[in-house]
Symmetry: C2
């Protein structure tokens, strides 16, 4: 989950997740939302993928990225653990 927290620390990467929330997209479509070079966006996508926050799938020439929510749920769980004082940790 450390990689996920690190991935979430960057505003561009959080924005990518918000964009993917609405619909899955190719790397190029995602890049079109930013004033950042495609290689840089590709690098961000790779970090998000390593963190388990997105999935990628090649479709012809393009690679389609989609949200993967399992790890997000894990992070939410961790955060709730911080908030809920009464609940005893294992």
């Amino acid at each position: 989950m450390n990689e996920a927290f690190k991935a979430l620390a960057d505003p561009t990467r959080r924005h990518i997740l918000q964009i993917l929330r609405d619909k899955s997209m190719t790397a190029g479509e995602i890049a079109d939302h930013f004033n950042i070079s495609k290689p840089s966006i590709s690098h961000h996508l790779n970090l998000l993928k390593q963190a388990g926050l997105v999935l990628d799938e090649r479709q012809g020439q393009s690679i389609i990225y989609s949200l993967h929510t399992t790890v997000v749920e894990d992070v939410i769980g961790w955060m709730f653990g911080i908030i809920n004082k009464q609940e005893k940790r294992d």
Copy 2:
């Protein structure tokens, strides 16, 4: 909220939050949980404070740090926003 996400990206700082979940502590007591110099822990505490994740209060010679959950709740809200596809953003 960007500062909170950045603060959460570091494992030491997340550990500090977990420690403070159980009870508020002085900077020194917190530092005793780590093999890191006190100035470094002090720096982490300052970042957590800037991010609104902890509060500090002087009590005599010591400074007591405590969890502040409001921003954690905001972050959780953001994360839920990522997960819940159906919910339309404003």
